[in-house]
């Protein structure tokens, strides 16, 4: 279906990524947002406070990030599209509720405007060091989806996709911005509402007597209802059966947790979103995501100009990791170069999938600023010899 015109500010804007992310969420149909001030994400909640009442939505500034991450789950179960936004320390506080969202299969979007860590770290400076935390941070086995925008325009465009995926897969979706993308001001074109596709909630068509809250469809995702519509609703973080009632035994655990993981894993081929450049003849492939992809692109261009056969694979959806694609590349390239604003997180995924078939070189950076083009270029030239 098309976006509700009420929430779409069609036209050209000159805004930063934080503001664009808020507009993307409202355009995607988000009508409940909860947040707490934390640099560098505060501008998102400030814009929500001003904007969302105008479209009939609600923003609540919570007493902390724990409350923010819970309140959105309540609003989702009462029928709305929801999101919260935070940065490092706030994300750490949200971890229990990320697991709860995964377990209860609650569609929701968590925006993480990444800053340097650990702990308070660098509140006003960028990093990409929460990549593994969003994948594995809450306890237990589950799976998530994460997107990584590299511009204010993508903060708008990909936010629509993030909301759509949350609805399609009934899972928390992470929107992995960073301080630079959040605070960088660029041109943002917001399309007409009829050009924005939004995925509605997967409401059940069944009658109350026939509905089972966690009975999966073919794609392993169950249909949803909302509290108050006459359906029997029992939402719990305990291991539950298809009716939603607690079932504390190994069989129920295996069935449920396996499905929570498989609904992403087995649909991973539908969740590939990458931008490839010059991959056809490449000897060396740079794999990057988020803000680092813009520096990596410059390095790749310079390497090409220097006559090296270098390609660039940019991950737009970072989780699930595009395993078959990287494995295929590994069978025909000499080396991968993986720059990221952390001391080596996604590079471990590359190493795991490449499995020794090609050389994998990390270009780590502890954060605080972005890479220098020369740092990435030097690694490319080193492995391209």
């Amino acid at each position: 279906m098309h976006a509700d015109p009420k929430g779409v500010l069609t036209g050209l804007h000159f805004i930063d990524g934080d503001h664009a992310a808020c507009e993307g969420a409202i355009a995607a149909g988000c009508r409940f947002a909860a947040g707490y001030p934390i640099t560098p994400s505060t501008e998102v909640v400030e814009r929500f406070a001003a904007r969302i009442p105008l479209v009939g939505g609600v923003f609540i500034q919570m007493e902390d990030e724990i409350a923010s991450s819970i309140a959105i789950l309540g609003a989702a179960w009462a029928g709305h599209k929801v999101m919260t936004v935070t940065s490092g320390p706030g994300l750490s506080l949200m971890m229990e509720h990320i697991g709860y969202a995964a377990m209860t299969e609650t569609p929701c979007v968590f925006v993480d405007v990444q800053r340097g860590g650990p702990s308070t770290g660098l509140p006003t400076l960028p990093a990409q060091a929460d990549m593994m935390q969003v994948r594995w941070g809450s306890h237990g086995d589950y799976n998530v989806i994460a997107l990584s925008p590299n511009s204010p325009q993508e903060c708008f465009d990909l936010m629509i996709k993030a909301f759509n995926l949350a609805e399609l897969y009934r899972t928390p979706v992470f929107f992995m911005m960073d301080e630079v993308v959040g605070h960088m001001t660029e041109r943002v074109a917001i399309p007409r509402p009829e050009d924005i596709e939004v995925v509605p909630r997967r409401w059940t068509s069944r009658k109350p007597g026939d509905y089972r809250a966690y009975e999966p469809g073919e794609d392993l995702v169950p249909e949803m209802v909302k509290a108050g519509d006459g359906f029997r609703v029992h939402i719990t973080g305990l291991t539950h059966d298809e009716r939603g009632y607690p079932a504390m035994n190994p069989q129920a655990q295996d069935k449920l947790v396996r499905r929570l993981v498989d609904k992403i894993r087995k649909n991973a081929h539908k969740l590939v979103d990458v931008r490839g450049e010059n991959l056809e003849d490449a000897d060396v492939v740079v794999i990057s995501y988020g803000i680092t992809s813009r520096i990596a692109a410059a390095a790749v261009e310079e390497a090409r100009a220097a006559g090296r056969k270098v390609g660039h694979l940019r991950l737009v959806i970072v989780w699930p990791f595009p395993e078959p694609l990287v494995a295929e590349l590994a069978s025909r390239v000499k080396a991968f170069v993986v720059p990221e604003l952390n001391l080596g997180q996604m590079v471990r995924e590359v190493e795991r999938v490449v499995a020794g078939k090609a050389q994998v070189v990390s270009v780590p950076h502890a954060g605080g600023t972005v890479h220098q083009v020369e740092d990435i270029l030097a690694k490319i030239l080193e492995v391209a010899k």
Binding site: P37, I38, T39, T42, E46, A49, P53, F59, E63, D64
Partner: protein, 324 residues
């Protein structure tokens, strides 16, 4: 300035000489939090350990070696000022060091909101700490977002016009008093001798001591820097911020009888209240009067109550909130 108030002669303040807030701090001009810390350390002296969670003071102290505080500082996570201080106190107690004051120094967000749970926990256990909340009535460090200390009607970036904050300010001292802690009090940077006396009294008491310090914030209140102390004084003299103390949740002492100037004298100097209608101002005026009636009623009730029953002898030492 249209209002003439009795002022302190700065040459004649009865305050300790030593300054442990040294030159070179990073506070904004006119910052009440800097003045508050200066007074606090004058009161508590060099044998003090300061615990600071995320708040303006996490920045104000400045980076080593230019940091401004002449005492040890532990900068901790946002929600943990009270319990971090409790841990320090427990360690000092094991070492037999009861001559060191442990001061948790947190803003209103870290006290009223995110730090409330751990503060309540520490207070219920009657941890032997001094907790000062320096209250500028919003998240100023992240750029003026509302907190539950933001008063009715104030503009912030998350309560923009026309959606100004409809709720009243949370009353922290009353909440803390209801934990029956030995000592809870309000204080103001415009009444330095009162604040210093309260800290020194707090230091002499075993158990949790809570002081709610009202401070001005020119950047967040949209006020003139030179008027910071004046506005803080007007908060007291209009009755908006009463100065009082509560012992063991029952014994109330009102420390200063305000002049009860009209609240507009206080509101008009702050841009954050500029949009208020006469109806809004009248609501504030009536709320202030009602809060004072309530405070006086509590004070009267406390004075007529008999002392609480003494615990069994074997528990008397452990249940220190019951006194003696």
């Amino acid at each position: 300035m249209s209002v003439e108030l009795a002022t302190y002669d700065p040459q004649n303040l009865h305050l300790p000489e030593e300054d442990l807030l040294r030159s070179g701090h990073l506070a904004c001009p006119g910052c009440g939090a800097a003045l508050g810390m200066r007074l606090a350390l004058k009161a508590l002296g060099p044998k003090t350990i300061v615990v600071i969670p995320a708040c303006c003071w996490a920045v104000i102290n400045g980076p080593y070696p230019f940091h401004a505080l002449g005492v040890p500082v532990l900068q901790v996570a946002f929600e943990t000022a009270a319990v971090s201080a409790a841990g320090i106190r427990a360690a000092l107690a094991m070492q037999g060091r009861d001559d060191v004051a442990v001061l948790a120094w947190a803003g209103d967000g870290g006290t009223f909101d995110i730090g409330f749970q751990s503060l309540s926990g520490a207070v219920e256990r009657n941890e032997d700490i001094i907790y000062v909340c320096y209250d500028n009535e919003a998240y100023m460090n992240t750029g003026i977002q509302r907190s539950s200390a933001t008063p009715f009607g104030a503009w912030t970036t998350t309560t923009p016009e026309p959606n100004i904050k409809p709720e009243p300010k949370k009353n922290m001292v009353e909440i803390l008093a209801e934990h029956r802690i030995p000592y809870a009090a309000t204080a103001s940077i415009a009444f330095p001798e009162d604040f210093v006396r309260k800290l020194q009294k707090a230091r002499s008491i075993k158990g949790t001591k809570f002081i709610h310090l009202w401070i001005s914030c020119p950047a967040g209140h949209k006020s003139e820097e030179r008027l910071s102390v004046h506005i803080a004084r007007l908060a007291v003299e209009t009755g908006v911020f009463p100065l009082y103390e509560v012992e063991y949740g029952t014994k109330y002492t009102i420390n200063h009888e305000p002049a009860f100037l009209d609240v507009t004298e206080y509101l008009k100097l702050q841009g954050r209240f500029r949009h208020l209608t006469p109806e809004d101002v009248d609501f504030i005026r009536r709320s202030v009067a009602w809060e004072w009636e309530r405070l006086r009623a509590k004070a009267a009730m406390g004075s007529s109550l008999p002392p609480p029953p003494s615990p069994p002898r074997r528990l008397a030492m452990a249940v220190s909130w019951l006194g003696e």
